[in-house]
Symmetry: D3
Subunit: 171 residues, 6 copies
């Protein structure tokens, strides 16, 4: 079987994703599923678009990768939380690069008036993404038992069920 | 410098931890900080004690390890959530062994009437632990901006601040 | 293909293995062959039962793993031998945890009056086990040339052949 | 010692490097030497600026990394050479992403009329860069024996010495 | 499927390769393609024969391996070039062992009057070999654009085309 | 601190080791302790000399490496034992290459009339060597309890003590 340049090529990362959603967020992944030539090579990429005034990449982890992000446009409030529950956060401007170490919960939020765009490199061809709120309150087949979430978040079980409905409706 | 058996020995994992806390939980870590002989060897251990009737190891991740848990006593409702937001859950009895793959959010809850005890092996000498709710709502120096959490969890910012007070008071 | 909780579950590690054999030993493996969900995850587990008064897990290696053992019941005399031929040994009681570094010859012996039980985590999904005496004297297809063993152990070739008969009869 | 956000932050990757040199090239590295927070995390980044009409990142390798490049601006002719001496090449436009597998010789050239800019993720915190021509003809302390290069490139030894002078003068 | 000794055996590394070629070089690889039992084991071997008076293993890299070479017969001028463009070189006699670190350009040349022979261990079952001159000037399907090589080597494009003809004729 | 060629050079692997000992064996290691330039590079080398008529490299393991051996001179009976207690053995002549997979017990014996010499590559800069008989019967500080060895090898405890004396006298 002949290998060609197309096996190593992904097109279109200059196109803004559609941020017309509740988070104001679009993530375009260039992982091994989208770019087969990455197989065994231990790296991948993503473009992240944030709607103006608060577009949010909500708290999430990459179970198998560190993320190294550069701001292409706009202003982002970003942070990750250490295993000692210390928040390491800052505000990034265009051209700033920030590290989100492997497996730690982190987030990015557009705190400027216009769009924001970032490009990230990730240290795995298959980094995985797990949004914390969605995974907990939106998990299905079946849902997480509400008592677990009520106790973990110190909230009323009825609030848990309201949140579970919201997240599962969001699909 | 002479190496002795003490460098490879940790004592006391038969002792129940103190579960007299809001979660009904005690975790005794045998990581490289507690057992220096583990250095470079890629494995560690933990004992987890759960109070009767609902003791909870709340949703958390190990940023650098898979966990392989065996139930020594009691009955546990356990689960992890995949990157497709599917919950993989089951109820474990004494002698059951369950896998929590690297970096994924998971939890264990005592659903029996008595104490529950588990022993886990972890695939790193320094696995790290990140409790999701505590890291997000209890992070300090400074706290996570409430607007991030309000939007991520689709809750009112005032509720976020109430939760942040609870978690930071809990220390 | 759907993944279910059963892919990550192994049942029955609370059951004592049958130690009614010449070594007084039973090892129940929870490796990737028994628990397919461990694939690629770099960890496995085992339960080891020792008959009273001398049940022995004889000198052996795990070619691909470090072992981290906790005593659940009983008293064990354990040790591993360094590449400088120094024995690192101690006596473990219930709740004691001990490290057997990757690839080194090690053993455990019940030195108490009752049964002894241990649980081990191993730093590979496929650690392998190689009992030293059995592999050398019991190897088949064909047997190891007796002259090799006679010289290595500084014993009479006739004794080697007696041992080879014993070990191959034991199967 | 306190860790702060500054340990994970690098500023200024939006600034074009100075391409006023014989290659028409500027590479801004964000490796572990420039961004200490990358230590042990297995990823790094670079910005590459190409002068109009032929700015060239000449054939080079990264001894310890795969490179995943995205074109931010301009048009690049790029390629890598396999161990079977097959050239895998293509022309990239803005938004195109291309993989240069670990350790293989590769190059990028600006084939548009304006500036070209690319951002790369690399699968090591310390990827290393080795420009082929410069390393061979410009190596010092001492230079490579000219007879080696003459035979390897099938050129006259006097030409080798001319090239060595050029490259060592360039410093 | 039965595994036999033949799966782990390669015969004939005592035979000199045919050095009757323009480089005066023969490399006999014992990589995973030649010796399937090496699969997953992270090591391979090669025998290198050099014709008298200048047999040359021209500048090349192993994209995935360090090479550790021992001289069996003869005298070799060897070197590798660091990422700082420093040449680390020396002359090796029979019995001398030298390290060529992972991914770096290196070469070996027979500087004695008789044949020279070396045996190398390599730190990958599939190290790969990339001859620098041949890969750049002899790459095919298609050739590297001459303007790239002219600028990289600071030579006339017509010389590039002459070299490309030589190398592609050599096959 | 300047790096020089001497950091990557080991001299004298052409010299036969002294095989005038009970095993008829000499192993010359080129590990990271002898050749510091191997640090982090994952490979090492050894020369093995065997006295005529039975020189033996007795059953041993490398806890952290696969060994790839080539016969330089003589005839060797070699083998390794799988974790299924199958012996994989053969007779090697000059120029034959054989694989001893990571961590498995293996041996080599001179079965020719003259000297035998082999060169091995090993897949770690610090492979370690553990001779099975010597480690078990010659371990010191303190010795292994004779009852362990008696039961493991199915021999009389008095024979164990005789062997322990022999091996500890040999030092």
């Amino acid at each position: 079987m002949m290998v060609t340049a197309d096996d190593f090529l992904f097109k279109g990362l200059d196109k803004a994703g559609n941020t017309d959603n509740s988070l104001g967020l679009a993530v375009t992944q260039v992982f091994v599923m989208q770019l087969p030539g990455l197989n065994t090579l231990g790296i991948s990429m993503a473009r992240i678009d944030f709607a103006p005034n608060g577009g949010l990449n909500p708290p999430h982890t990459h179970p198998r990768a560190t993320e190294l992000l550069v701001v292409i446009e706009g202003t982002l409030y970003v942070g990750f939380i250490t295993t000692n529950n210390t928040l390491i956060s800052t505000t990034l401007e265009k051209g700033d690069v920030f590290v989100f170490p492997k497996g730690l919960v982190h987030f990015q939020k557009n705190v400027g008036y216009g769009n924001a765009v970032a490009i990230s490199g990730l240290s795995s061809q298959n980094p995985g993404v797990q949004q914390v709120a969605k995974s907990l309150f939106g998990a299905s087949n079946p849902a997480v038992d509400p008592s677990v979430l009520a106790k973990a978040f110190e909230i009323d079980p009825r609030l848990v069920q309201i949140l579970q409905k919201k997240f599962s409706a969001a699909g």
